[in-house]
Symmetry: C2
Subunit: 393 residues, 2 copies
């Protein structure tokens, strides 16, 4: 089964319509905090606020989304104003005295928690970069470039951030090269930065050499520094939806590099390996965690269906299909698209639920919390609509 | 419905038989590490090893269990030898240079992770205390008393251990007074310690005054330092099985204090409040997390059924019934006992599975991992058998 032109046009319209009239309208304008700036994103299914705290990751992601809509869909003044509200809040309250960013702050910006990761920083990079492009604000551009440099420093300087584990059994995660690659892509494609291309190549090499295992057809989530498999519970744990997100970052790079055939092959095989391991043949949907050798994983909720792996898989399969024309990817795209919009989409209130049991029944109703907000779903709808529109659909 | 004497005799035999011929035999002797000492507890349903790492909590819990069997069931030399193996391993490899204990070590005892909690220490207290009683080893007794003092110091000296959160919104958890109370009870009832009674009274007062909320019939998991409810997602999150564990620690204390009526009333109302909030009227079993105002909680897996809340609830309901004769508690005990031995118990291989979906279907097969090992289930079977035997059944 391939997609016809009509079907691709229909998908293009569907994603754009969902984005603008179902997803964005769930979050905005209700989430704008008129009093303190930033966003009040922790909401129940019906949009009611369940917590007025602010998750720093998602403040950045929200500002990125609004700025990106300005840059690519339509330059609406309200979107730009709302983006500025998030950027200003992050500048005022997002940073500790040591320059690191917080993870969780109160409504008025008082810090609750700082973590030993720099994901708050990566989301601040893409937020500032997209906002700088949308607004012409040179300070935001400088901030994006400065923070990108800090992230490179954090990722390449062992011991700069406090360690969670001792040095007994060193490991590294695919999350770092993945998020850094996507951060660099966003930076490059908004305000540009001469460092990006070279670093992206380095991170892709690391993923290809150390995390992708052709002999067992698998993308590892963690490995030893030399890329070998760490045969303990944590080291064996796979996150298929995350690896599939990595696959589309690489397919995106392939497209940017004039359909580079080696990168297309790499991204497609990552998708192939992890679709095979992650797609639930019994109930449909992407399983959250799997053990590389099918042993039990530590995380008891490993067979739940989360919203975001489905967003990543919708993007990855559509991108793979448009780059290769392989009908397998159209079939997979249709499977995951239909599953997701049937099971996750809240027909009554808009947006998606976040958490289903393995069998597809709803586990809880929150639309926004410390980890969920206007990011994976609107990014998917935006990315797919842009992709198809760019191809003439 | 009350229990007849015959039924109580039947339960007494059932628990003892399960303990000795189904639960203990799953773990031992296969888990004894003849090469490095300590225990290899991370096992799949059939007993096969899934990881040879060692969780420090569970090394202590295992040594406690084996020593306790010697002290209360039968003085078997093999149990004492196996207990010594765990005690020796902890002494050799459990402690960092700063005196704090690790959380996770390799098979040979190399440290993998240290956490900012002192639960490893509390389990080392009860392990050493029980082992000292079983063996007469005075060094173990000293170690237990010394570590108990360290735990009191950690629990009463803000800033002594690194903080997870900033000082913006201070909270405290019921876990600290609960685990300290149980640690003191174990210490007192094995080798004795003059500090225990007074500290236990202090911790019970703290639970009664700050965590038990009669106006909304609830036991909070976290509160502000003054006992007020923190109306944010984390502050609202209840853990009914944990609160029910706290209830039976208090009922145990009531029994120790010649059936102190105030403590019986306190323990019973904690059980009443949290049975009402935690028991799943649709599928049976104890739900893992609930929001105090029935809003969504952060933890997406909040409606899963874990093994250990069921162990705690079996103990609490049986203890409440034997202390009060209230037939409600016999009815609840029967409900949770039947649910648990039907759903969690592995009829094929012995012991219990750890993790069920809300509907009671199996979520994953591990018998042992970083958090599960020979503790909650054998402690329940041991405690209930001892309780009934002590009452003449």
């Amino acid at each position: 089964m391939s997609y016809t032109s009509e079907q691709l046009k229909g998908l293009s319209l569907f994603y754009k319509n969902q984005l603008l009239n179902n997803t964005i309208t769930f979050w905005f304008p209700r989430s704008i905090d008129e009093e303190y700036g930033g966003y009040l994103f922790m909401r129940d299914a019906d949009g009611s606020l369940i917590d007025d705290d602010k998750a720093v990751w998602i403040q950045g992601r929200g500002a990125w989304l609004l700025s990106t809509l300005c840059n690519t869909v339509e330059h609406r003044k309200e979107w730009l104003d709302w983006a500025k509200s998030g950027i200003d809040f992050l500048n005022k309250y997002g940073f500790d005295a040591d320059g690191q960013m917080f993870f969780h702050v109160t409504r008025s910006g008082q810090p609750i928690r700082k973590r030993r990761y720099y994901f708050s920083e990566t989301f601040a990079v893409i937020a500032n970069a997209a906002y700088a492009k949308a607004s012409g604000d040179e300070q935001a551009a400088e901030k994006a470039r400065y923070l990108f440099g800090k992230c490179i420093e954090y990722s390449t300087t062992p011991g700069l951030l406090p360690a969670k584990f001792t040095k007994t059994r060193p490991t590294k995660g695919i999350g770092v090269p993945m998020i850094m690659m996507n951060t660099a892509q966003q930076l490059r494609e908004t305000i540009g930065d001469p460092r990006c291309d070279e670093w992206i190549s380095i991170w892709i090499e690391e993923i290809k050499n150390d995390f992708v295992k052709d002999d067992i057809k698998c993308v590892m989530e963690q490995v030893a520094p030399d890329g070998s498999i760490v045969d303990h519970i944590d080291g064996r744990t796979l996150n298929p939806g995350h690896a599939i997100e990595g696959a589309w970052f690489i397919l995106h790079e392939a497209k940017y590099r004039n359909n580079d055939p080696e990168l297309i092959a790499l991204g497609c095989k990552m998708l192939d390996y992890m679709w095979e391991r992650g797609w639930d043949k019994q109930h449909g949907g992407i399983l959250y965690f799997k053990d590389v050798y099918d042993k039990p994983v530590q995380e008891y909720w490993q067979d739940m269906k989360f919203w975001w792996p489905h967003n990543e898989t919708i993007i990855a399969t559509l991108l793979a299909y448009t780059l290769t024309g392989d009908e397998k990817y159209a079939r997979w795209h249709k499977l995951v698209h239909n599953y997701s919009y049937e099971k996750f989409h809240d027909k009554e209130n808009g947006e998606w639920f976040g958490y289903l049991h393995r069998d597809g029944s709803l586990a809880q109703t929150a639309k926004g919390n410390m980890f969920k907000g206007p990011f994976h779903l609107p990014r998917q709808e935006w990315y797919c609509a842009q992709l198809l529109q760019g191809l003439g659909y």
